[in-house]
Symmetry: C2
Subunit: 216 residues, 2 copies
Amino acid sequence: MRMAELSRTSGVPVATIKYYVREGLLPRGEVTTSPNQADYGPAHLRRLQLVRSLVEVGGLSIAAVRATLVAVDDPAVPLHHTLGMTIAAAGPGTGGAPEDAAQREAEARIDELLAKKGWRPHDGAPGRQAAIDCLATMRRVTGTRLDSVLAPYADAVEAIAEADLDTVSALTDPEERVETALVGTVLGDRLLAALRRLAREHVSARRFPPAAEETS
Amino acid sequence: MRMAELSRTSGVPVATIKYYVREGLLPRGEVTTSPNQADYGPAHLRRLQLVRSLVEVGGLSIAAVRATLVAVDDPAVPLHHTLGMTIAAAGPGTGGAPEDAAQREAEARIDELLAKKGWRPHDGAPGRQAAIDCLATMRRVTGTRLDSVLAPYADAVEAIAEADLDTVSALTDPEERVETALVGTVLGDRLLAALRRLAREHVSARRFPPAAEETS
């Protein structure tokens, strides 16, 4: 197909496609009869969709997209590393948290949790730092009132991670895998937050039932 | 205590405390010996901490804080409503999603899920709309590849909601309850996102083990 059709099919504007080609994120189309016309196939469409997801859903920089694509294309890079890299690039940022007692105690609690669960994140895992920062902020605001949620949260996210990996493992196309993992990670956080509010309304209504005369 | 001490104890600047008092979010201190000095007690400290949490952690507007405090102070308002209101005010916003096929199908899937779980959110629940918007975006990007996570996600967030409500139910002070519910909701989303990344690294490493010669 011509670039105009690739644009229509993918929903990505022609100018954006040209930008991705210039940045080396999308291979040039194959030159056919006319020197000014290039032909794009299903592989281009698939790659274009992945790049768009990485940029628009994942919020990855062009450099991070490029690194992800190199990993996707290199059969020597284990899938586990590619997924981990993509997820880390789209992960929550870690702010410069103050180094106070709450921070040190939160670090000890998170490391205790990791040991108990048998999770061994890589050195400098942003998830570990983000978890410590969150717990420290909770402790600064509410004391240790919220510490009790840590263990049930860890069990719940383990079930969530199993469901995520079930979905990704069922796919054979490496581009589909990376795209699904990324979209599932980034939009999955938002979906979980939304479902969590619905679940809380349900559990809260069950535990604190409104009085009989109320209509809502 | 004097306002300066209230500021030191709470960590809230004097100018901010004065602003909260002017906005009616914090009662004036009791006038004692000198007409220019007011006395603040433990109730002021507690209320100040709640206001700060609502504003800084929850990102609530002054009007939303005021409405929350009215509900906290009114024994006729059931706790379930107060918590629901606070959580809704701090909840994820809903964008103007396009009304396309993906949106309609996502709506049908979410309502199917709610029926299956027996969750009956109130009319216009922001969680329902946010869940529909997320699922529709996932469908636009990946087709139905991610639909299979819905049911396990719902089960996991129900366990999370039970843990959240366990924590809140254990508290007797209504201000502590609202504060804990709010901080747990807002920071809890971030904590869950962080723990989810750690869990995924763990599950991913187990399912896609690196080759034996690799060191990581």
